[in-house]
Structures are given as C-alpha cells and as structure tokens.
Symmetry: C2
Subunit: 78 residues, 2 copies
Amino acid sequence: MKDKAVFYHAGCPVCVEAEHQMLAALDRNRYDVEVVHLGTDKRRLSEAERLGVKSVPALALDGRVFHINFGAKLDALR
Amino acid sequence: MKDKAVFYHAGCPVCVEAEHQMLAALDRNRYDVEVVHLGTDKRRLSEAERLGVKSVPALALDGRVFHINFGAKLDALR
C-alpha cells in the first residue's frame, strides 16, 4: 500500500511552478499524491491544522509535515 | 540523464529522521541524490550560497532551492 503525500497550498501564483517541481520529484510508486488548496477548500483546514500545518506551502508525508519555503525572488513580483 | 537533488543540512539531530523521510520520498529514477553537511564540508558553502541557499535544511532540485522547515517540536528537545 502506498503512503500518502498531501501538498497544502493557498494558490500563491509565484510558487506554483516551484511546487509542481517538488511534487514531480516524489516517487509515485511509494506515494499517492494529493494537492489541497486551503484557500478554496476550507473544509480541509481543520485536518491540516490537526496534522501540524502552520503555514503553506506544506508537504505532509505520511502525516509528517514539512513546511516548504521556496522563497520567491522579488524579481518574480515585478 | 538524471537530474540532481542536493540536500544541504548542518547535522541538526532533531531533524535527521525527518530529513531522511523526505529524501526517501524522492524518485530515484529521476534524481541522483546527494547529501551535503555544510557544518563539516565547508568547501561546499559557496556553492550552496550561489544556488540561493539561505538556511538549512534546504533541498535543491535541479538547481532550484526549497527551504524546508520541519519545525521541530519542543517535545523532541526535552
């Protein structure tokens, strides 16, 4: 049975490409990957909170939360 | 040819297990994974800086840096 990888985000456009790169790097033979947009899917907020998500983007691997900061460059905002 | 994934860290013992979990989740068919301990391998500091590493742990996927904050629980320090 595969473990579960859940990527929580809030639709930040600057990070979308970066996030996709990180998700694409995961081993799909080992993980079922789900992407949850907490800005639009607010029913998932309590679940995320329970897991320990403090900020987005965050990746939960089998229930363990990693907060990911791509650190958008200011150039991306110009 | 595989892309390169470099995990930069400084040996923080609290995060070691978590970091291993994240590395284990990467698709090894797509990435050659290297782990660099910047605390002991200081020759790699300038390389990390050049890539944009601002803090550790950080994961560089094909040159793009993701800063990862596992967010050690205080319980782990007791």
